[in-house]
Every structure is written in structure tokens, then in C-alpha cells.
Amino acid sequence: MSNGILTLVYDIPAMDMISAGEASSNVKKKLKQLGVNPLIVKKVSISMYEAEMNAVIHANGGSATVNIGTDEIVIIIEDRGPGIENIDLAMKEGYSTASDEVRQMGFGAGMGLPNIKKNSDSLNIESEIGKGTRLEIAIKFTS
């Protein structure tokens, strides 16, 4: 990321449903302070929240890196969870393997990854069974 203006790094704690979502809330505040276009702020924070919650719910936590560049914002969410067996299937609206416990809190619509896709200019998912998952989400300032 050669033309980065600012890089933010967060730890995403495992199985902590109380503080879950803090990294994306923090990014939202920072972007607002920086005067980023509100539409872009919304896209970035919703995409990041969905990815962050997936790391908490499906993968025992992980880390987030947000690179704010001159023409785009790139969010990288990495975990060392179980991995995604079939990414095409996971991308389908309504597909979810969420547990009953998190469903009772309102998660598990199977809309998280489709939401990220919809809100971003590019979404790249790398995943290996038993190793983990890495999402790279880019949102352009001009989008």
C-alpha cells in the first residue's frame, strides 16, 4: 500500500459478543472525523462490521487492518478459524451455518457476505479449511 495516508490495526476478540463490532464503530468515527463522504463512511463501516462479526461468530476472532489511501479504503479481515468450504455457496443470500445461540441475537440471515459485496467495489476472499479466512474489501472514494 504505497499511497496510504493512514493505517488502522485492530484485534478482534473471540466469542465476545459484548464488545463485538467495536473495531468497525471506531473506524466509522475516525472516517467521520477525517471528513470522508458520509456515503463512503456507511459503505465502509457496514462492510467492516459484517466481516468483523463473521470473524467473531464463525472463526474465534482475528484481526482487522484498514488502509486509508488517497483514492480508496482497503479493509483486511483475517482469522484463524475453520475456513469456508464453499465460497460460492457462502456468498449466496440466505446461506448460513450460524448457531442457534447467535441466531437468537439476530445473526444468521446469511446476508453478511452479500452485504459486503453490495457495499464494496471489490471483495476478495481467500480461505483454507482448518487454517482460516482472509477478506480484502476495497471501497473507492469515487464510487
Binding site: A20, Y49, G106, F107, M111, K118
Partner: protein
């Protein structure tokens, strides 16, 4: 119309987030699937849900909603109220059913528009 008006006219309890009572309400959204809310709710909506977990505060902020209305008499967890106070997003409580809450707010909005 603002959040305070909904609370006053429909006799709802303001459970938290008093700072945000002046926020404008332009639409209504009722859904209990969080990702669905983030995908579909129009901003400046009053959001009606039966969830009470702290994540509803994050969702309301991300989707830029005006308030959270916890319907059907569901009791709201204390850390949810603390977070809502911190963020200044109103949480209202009502014993009305979700659909009834929608109807009543809809009528209020219509009445206001006629004025």
C-alpha cells in the same frame, strides 16, 4: 417528526439515549435479522425489533437509524442501554406488538404530513 414525539404520543418508555430524542423520523422499519436491517432499512427510520442484545446499538448506528423501538414488552439488557446512552441513540420500549407499533407510527407520520 422526531423521536420524542413518538415516545410522547404513543406512550413509550424512553429507556436510553435521551440525547438523541430530537432526531428526525422519516420512515419505519421492522425486522429482527440484523444483516437484513443493514441491507434494507432506509436511514432516519424508526427501527422496531424484539432483540435487546447490545449489537442492536451498533446496527442502528451503522444503518443511520433514528431510534430503536423494542416492542412486545421485551426487557432490554442493561449493557445495551449503557451503550445507547454513550452513543446517544434513543431506545424506546413498548408493550405493543410489532405490527401495531408500525401502524401507530405510520398514522403519526401521516398526520404530521397533513399539517
Amino acid at each position: 417528526m422526531d423521536v420524542k414525539m413518538i415516545a410522547d404520543k404513543l406512550n413509550m418508555k424512553v429507556l436510553a439515549g435521551k440525547k438523541g430524542l430530537g432526531m428526525k423520523v422519516e420512515d419505519i422499519y421492522a425486522c429482527d435479522l440484523l444483516s437484513w436491517v443493514m441491507a434494507r432499512a432506509e436511514k432516519a427510520s424508526a427501527w422496531i425489533t424484539i432483540h435487546s442484545h447490545v449489537n442492536i446499538v451498533a446496527v442502528a448506528l451503522l444503518a443511520e437509524l433514528s431510534c430503536i423501538i423494542v416492542s412486545e414488552g421485551v426487557k432490554v439488557e442493561s449493557n445495551t442501554l449503557e451503550r445507547a446512552d454513550m452513543e446517544g441513540i434513543p431506545v424506546l420500549g413498548t408493550t405493543m406488538k410489532t405490527h401495531r407499533t408500525c401502524i401507530e407510527i405510520h398514522n403519526l407520520i401521516k398526520r404530521e404530513q397533513k399539517k
